[in-house]
Symmetry: C2
Subunit: 218 residues, 2 copies
DNA sequence: TAGATTGTTAATCGATTAACAATC
DNA sequence: TAGATTGTTAATCGATTAACAATC
């Protein structure tokens, strides 16, 4: 059931990104068509879920053939905003922040890292890839001037909310939170958590207590 | 409703990690007690959800006071395996893999990075933090010898399944998948996805189509 | 045509929230 | 005691799966 405003339930959103990478992969390997059953088997879902999810997407399959991979890739790319360049800044020039700033994959995927900021005077002035680490005090005007869309929080947990507030006040549209802290933001600012340590803790729990066959896993 | 085998629904597992970091944070700031209402407000949940989740945890609150932060931290630490050292290897010595191998936070949290592997001859032999990058061919005996629990996949997507198969055959217990690929593994091997690019894509979708007030967000 | 696959409706299942007796 | 908070049961809500008519 497609919604008028294009929003989708969170459960569906999480799968749309997987459908996109799957479609890209298929197309790069020359497949022209893919059925809901193929997708389901490839990603560990049921074909019902796939078809139900597709009802949120403005794209129709063809009976007996399935979905055309080119079209599927195109519509999901647009829906997820992967056809746009998103201006990003990284806050925190530690191991993780620096790795993101240096990683070419982000630019390739449309996430342009415009600047990297840190308050540690031993880090400011250093070069990280093509960028120079600047003090956080320079961040608010920078974000305003460069029309930055996304702030990537790679700072220690105790600093995270403070930095988030600064980014929000500077007009950021979304935050990727890599810090081990819960970020509070007004509703107009999207927040997405992405934390390797948390994933590792979930993984160790999963190793210690494997889910009964069937029950909702990863 | 606590289960006999200690397993919990995935939805609850994801929140347990948050309760743990919240309890650690509270305790480090000197709080002795916390109520389900406090936790709910701190993490953006309802107190009902918190109490329901706590019924999966072998720990009781005290009426009129709430939960003792020390005890809560202790039981969640044990439940999530955060009181154990987990032996890890990183496969892929690119930006992300190297950042993980260098990051002290992992060791501090009980994730001991024992080795880092890569097939690129320009990378093997290089030092990354305290480790030396070894060729992937050395990985299987290494994993056997060091009783490695967890493999962290930081390789390009096309190589991910192949590397995963190698780790699985070597007796790994869990995989943290940072590659843009779906990993197929036998049921005895736990797999957890953790991908920054995917989180960014979900974030841009969230920016483009903000959920209606209420509906399931992050 | 026969068969495969979509799109959608209905049924099931699970997760969240509300409500409230029990407790300290 | 009165009031606050837990633990749990019941109600609601949402997500997944099953089923099947429509289609090519």
């Amino acid at each position: 059931m497609r919604r008028a405003d294009g929003s989708v339930p969170g459960s569906v959103r999480r799968r749309l990104t997987r459908y996109l990478t799957y479609a890209q992969d298929l197309r790069s390997r020359g497949a022209e068509w893919v059925s809901s059953r193929d997708i389901a088997e490839g990603l560990g879902l049921t074909s019902s879920t796939v078809r139900q999810d597709m009802s949120f997407v403005d794209f129709s399959g063809v009976s007996k053939k399935g979905y055309e991979t080119i079209g599927l890739e195109k519509v999901l790319t647009s829906m997820l905003g992967a056809d746009t360049v998103w201006n990003c800044v990284v806050v925190g020039a530690g191991n993780l922040g620096a790795a993101i700033a240096r990683h070419e994959e982000f630019a390739r995927r449309g996430f342009s890292i415009q600047g990297i900021f840190d308050n540690d005077p031993r880090k400011t002035g250093r070069r990280v890839g093509a960028l120079t680490v600047r003090p956080i005090s320079e961040m608010p005007p920078f974000v305003g001037r460069h029309r930055t869309d996304i702030g990537i929080l790679a700072v220690p947990a105790p600093a995270a909310q403070q930095v988030a507030d600064l980014l929000i006040a500077s007009g950021i549209k979304g935050l990727l939170n890599m810090a081990l802290a819960h970020i509070v933001a007004p509703r107009r600012v999207a927040v997405m958590d992405s934390r390797i340590i948390v994933s590792l803790m979930e993984l160790t729990h999963l190793i210690k207590y494997p889910p009964e066959r069937g029950a909702g896993g990863a």
